[in-house]
Amino acid sequence: MERQVAYIALFAALIAALGFVPPIPTPIGVPITAQTLGVMLAGTILGSKRGALASLLIVVIALAGLPVLSGGRGGLGVLFGPTAGFLVGWPLASYVTGLIVEKSRAGNLFLVSSLAAIIGCVIVLYACGVVGLKVNANVDMMHGLKGSLIYVPGDIVKAIVAGFVTQQIAKARPGILLSRTSS
């Protein structure tokens, strides 16, 4: 139990810390912001349930009033803003990402994690974001979707980075991935 709480809480802290890290350059040239990379890693490393709880914890803490979101943002107002869906969707995104990694026991970890991050933290998360845009800002879902498309290439690069990092971590410490050990 202590181990669960420690892993979940510290990963939430990692997601928060990554909100303060400047954008990371990529070989493609598009710099990526680190915070959602943390949301991806919560899923690929901790698995579906714990990853989702880590993301949920940081979302709750941000809404309660700690400035842990990129740019030092936070507070209850975020819940009513146009980007609320992209934030509130984090737990679901981590869950789906983690679930895919867990279910595919075998298979190249880099490929599986990258794909999981794309499905969970791009496709599912953007869906949440588009719904949020409709609910909070009356934006037609098709328009919202089209408008979000420009961010997709950058986020796919981010997902590939997440896959690479996950694979490197698993290589450095075999057995450390909670998403791949049976527990």
Binding site: R3, Y7, A16, A64, G65, G81, H143, A172
Partner: protein
């Protein structure tokens, strides 16, 4: 890590958090059926008056906090103009500023501890799923404690990188950072166990007051 609560006291600071949160829910629900931008503007002015009632310094902080939102709203407004929905654009813009501004008031006038107490109360049913009562406040304390530490580790790793490379940063640095996080999690788990754990057994629990 400093919270977003504003130190200078106002009359709103004295109201209980639960009441304020209920009012936010009510306000946003009230805003849903509003279809006339003039009504939305009225709501926004009401919120602005609330800010003003707490003093000019307080209102200024509130404005600063809304600044990042302004860029988004400007973009949204442009979208509505381009889709020939000018009045809807005005409506949405005013509604957003009004509801977000009102919600931010709660953040600015409530202590983090009090807000987290509400979260804990809401999470009570989870006890039936095995969540120990203390777990949430422990977790919260850990997040507050470790976020600056991880930021520091990230900075040191960046220094170690920049000492040997002309580039400023790299995604590679996430590997040692994540490994550090996992190692720290193991140590924290040990420390928690050594202090009696956070299981659902009754008895003296170590208090974990974290002033933010």
């Amino acid at each position: 890590m400093l919270s977003l609560t504003v130190e200078t006291k106002s009359w709103m600071h004295r109201w209980p958090v639960e009441t304020k949160l209920l009012l936010v829910c009510l306000f946003s629900l009230l805003m849903v059926p509003v279809n006339d931008w003039r009504l939305a503007l009225f709501g926004l002015i009401a919120v602005a008056l609330l800010y003003a009632s707490a003093g000019w310094a307080f209102a200024k902080i509130g404005l600063v906090r809304l600044r990042p939102l302004s860029y988004l709203v400007a973009l949204l407004f442009l979208y509505f103009v381009l889709t020939a929905r000018l009045e809807e654009g005005l409506l949405v813009s005013f509604k957003l500023f009004a509801t977000i501004g009102f919600a931010n008031l709660v953040t600015m006038t409530s202590r983090l501890d009090d807000l987290m107490a509400v979260v804990e109360w809401l999470a009570k049913p989870l006890r039936f799923f095995g969540l120990p009562p203390r777990a949430l406040s422990f977790a919260m304390g850990l997040v507050v404690r470790f976020t600056p530490l991880f930021l520091q580790k990230s900075e040191l790793l960046h220094q170690a990188w920049r000492a040997r490379s002309p580039k400023k940063s790299s995604a590679r640095l996430l590997v040692p950072l994540a490994l550090n996080v996992l190692d720290d999690a193991d140590h924290v788990a040990e420390a928690l166990r050594a202090r009696g754990g956070i299981g659902s057994h009754k008895g003296a629990q170590p208090t974990n007051k974290n002033k933010s």
